[in-house]
């Protein structure tokens, strides 16, 4: 299980690799979400050029594929920063002092929630619950979870994310 950080760096867009990703999911029932997850795992985002490939493989319209990609918060339309820092913004973390921490992170990184730093180091994202509500406020840096966040612990995460 991942307790260490995993940088968000992925391979550059490649049509043949994308087709392989798509093919690898076709034996599953309702394969579209698994396909999109596989593509995002490979490239870090869903390239627009993937949509017609998926449409053809599944025999559905490109509009349907586009509709699904854009419906879900997880699927990116462009690569994220080298790190992704998710701060929980839901009620349990609000109750435990999450709001000032979110403002602190935005100020310190110089980016608004949902945006990527100009130097490409980090994407700061809101997340609505990590299920760590008894050790709130919580965050996730590249898949590593952190609870009982305070300014000191957050600063350490921010420093790591800016590398």
């Amino acid at each position: 299980m991942s307790s260490g950080s995993r940088s968000q760096q992925r391979s550059p867009w490649d049509k043949d690799v994308a087709i392989q990703c798509i093919q690898s999911c076709l034996d599953r029932e309702g394969p579209l979400l698994p396909i999109l997850h596989a593509l995002q795992e490979e490239f870090g985002y869903i390239d627009e050029a993937a949509e017609p490939l998926i449409a053809e493989a599944l025999n559905i319209s490109r509009a349907e594929v586009h509709g699904v990609v854009t419906f879900y918060h997880d699927f990116r339309r462009e690569p994220a920063g080298r790190h992704v820092l998710k701060l929980c913004r839901a009620e349990a973390c609000q109750a435990a002092g999450g709001d000032p921490l979110a403002l602190h992170a935005e100020a310190r990184l110089g980016v608004a929630m949902g945006k990527t730093a100009a130097d490409g180091s980090v994407t700061l994202e809101p997340v609505y619950c990590l299920g760590l509500c008894a050790i709130a406020p919580s965050a996730m840096l590249d898949g590593r979870v952190v609870g009982r966040l305070d300014e000191r612990r957050l600063d350490a995460l921010l420093a790591e994310a800016q590398q």
């Binding site: 309702g30 698994p34 009620e91 109750a95 990590l130 509500c133 050790i135 709130a136 898949g143």
Partner: protein, 520 residues
């Protein structure tokens, strides 16, 4: 003699350093030439004590916590030489917070190695399935009906009735779908069980499959839970090897297999019909009912769709019998509820108990009040769609009907505590904003109503035509409540209206009123 230590791999324990503690103990053991076996378990759910380290002794497990990585080696040395240490909590099972619980669904969570099917069986796992196979499909359904189990996802629909409907519907293919899209803030029970006792969920789904004649199952887990996804996937592989899944479950002629599907960050997919659409590879839009999923569910086939905790309760019900389970609880809420204490709370965690405990007992007595030390002002029960309760309603018993009677809901059992610094107008605004962000867009009251609601609350906060705008907000909430297709639009009025009703002073409507129970 080898020392046996238990350290959780639960995400909540990892988030506060359990991995570093395990590494420090392993390194310390090597340095000191001590024979140590570290078993990684789920969490007991006593999160203020995480990372919790337990050691096996002839008198049972002894707990230490919360352990910081820096003190781990010193702790190991103390354990090796008799066990006295400032962090010693005594026998784990005797910790009052744990002892006063009734752990049925969570009996093994935090105790067993979630990756070991052998450990599962050694702790009574599989007995429900065994009895289910002896009973046969019709009697399994009857047992679940008689137990009084109601859907633990939030709606509280009788689980057995759902199973019976699917059992009676003819089709070549039926499905079992587990809703593990636990998106409600303040809830983490599904995550804990999947990370700490995944086989109980697999067993429960297999029992459901046998009962209704379904051979294929899906567990739809939200992407925010990578540890749960990994734990379930590993458990499914082990379960196939151990004949808990596959073509001859438990040596019988029944076939059932399942797989994990990962969500993609849409809160609305916790609604059962949008979850089904998502599984089919579509936008997670809510379906109009009827048809019920029990008649036309996944890929149009009869489908049992239940929450993680509902399936995870089936094995104990089958093992011990319906009356054992039904004898716990109150009114029409039978059995136990895994309640999750969260937010600004001193003793937060998983508290499984029979229905009937009051909100006040949970928050003040079990939870110990706020972590900040300030007075408790509001408690949101049941996630983002649940009502905010003031202290004046702390006598409400934890029971589906009692909460409904007070314009609230127990939902998935999350209890989020706020202290007196909370601004309830802001919380009402957030509820509407969240609904606007997460609305699937299919029905107008939810899609448009939530956006207009945010604007209206903003006007109230800015003191523009306050009385008129409060009337608009009430009217809007009424429209959302009765006009929305699903609980997202339909229940968002609960937090909004409860904030407005119980905390009018935060909306500036009147001068602050003396609080009824302010004298603590």
């Amino acid at each position: 003699m080898t020392l046996r230590l238990f350290i959780p791999v639960d995400a909540g324990a990892l988030a506060v350093g359990a991995e570093d503690v395990a590494a420090a103990i392993a390194a310390g053991a090597k340095r000191r030439n001590l024979a140590v076996e570290i078993v990684r378990t789920g969490s007991r759910g006593l999160y203020w004590l995480e990372p919790l380290v337990e050691v096996e002794t002839p008198a049972g497990r002894i707990a230490y916590g919360p352990v910081a990585a820096e003190e781990a080696e010193g702790l190991l040395a103390a354990i090796a030489t008799g066990g006295a240490h400032p962090l010693r909590l005594g026998p784990t099972e005797e910790i009052p917070w744990l002892k006063r619980q009734t752990r049925l669904t969570f009996a093994r969570c935090g105790v067993v190695d979630p990756r070991s099917l052998a450990d599962y069986h050694a702790h009574d796992g599989g007995k429900g399935l065994e009895r289910a196979l002896a009973l046969g499909p019709a009697a399994i359904v009857e047992e679940v009906v008689q137990s009084g189990l109601r859907g633990r996802g939030g709606a509280g629909f009788p689980t057995g009735i759902k199973w019976r409907t699917v059992a009676q519907t003819q089709a070549a293919q039926k499905y079992i779908v587990c809703n593990a899209d636990e998106g409600d803030s303040g809830t983490f029970a599904d995550r804990m069980i999947m990370e700490g006792d995944p086989f109980v969920l697999i067993e429960g789904m297999a029992i459901a499959g046998i009962a209704v004649g379904a051979t294929k199952g899906y567990v739809y887990i939200r992407s925010e839970y990578p540890h749960a996804v990994a734990a379930m996937e590993a458990a499914i592989v082990a379960a196939r090897r151990g004949k808990l899944l596959g073509s001859s479950i438990g040596g019988s002629t029944f076939t059932f297999d399942m797989e994990v599907r990962v969500g993609a960050g849409a809160y609305v997919c916790g609604e059962e019909t949008s979850l089904l659409d998502s599984l089919e590879g579509k936008r997670g839009e809510v379906r109009a009912k009827p048809p019920l999923p029990a008649h036309k569910g996944l890929f149009g086939q009869p489908t049992v769709i239940n929450n993680v905790l509902s399936f995870a309760s089936a094995p104990i019900i089958l093992e011990k019998g319906a009356s054992f389970y039904r004898d716990l609880g109150m009114g029409r809420s039978r059995g136990t509820m895994p309640i999750q204490l969260a937010g600004n709370i001193k003793y937060g965690g998983l508290f499984e108990t029979a229905f009937g405990i009051t909100l006040g007992e949970l928050v003040d007595d079990v939870g110990g009040g706020t972590r900040s030390g300030r007075p408790v002002r509001a408690v949101q029960v049941g996630g983002p769609l649940g009502a905010y309760f003031p202290r004046a309603l702390f006598d409400t018993p934890f029971d589906y009907e009692a909460f409904t009677a007070r314009d609230g809901l127990i939902g998935h059992g999350g209890v989020v505590v706020f202290d007196d610094t909370v601004d309830m107008a802001r919380q009402a605004r957030f509820a509407l904003e969240f609904c606007a962000i997460e609305s699937c867009g299919k029905c107008t009251p939810c899609r448009i109503g939530s956006a207009r609601g945010v604007e209206t609350v903003d006007r109230i906060i800015r003191d523009e035509n306050r009385a008129a705008n409060i009337a608009v907000l009430e009217d809007l909430c009424n429209t959302m409540k009765f006009g929305s297709l699903c609980a997202l639009g339909g229940f968002t009025p609960f937090p909004v209206m409860s904030a407005l009703t119980h905390f009018p002073e935060d909306f500036g409507a009147r001068p602050p009123q003396p609080r009824l129970q302010a004298a603590e």
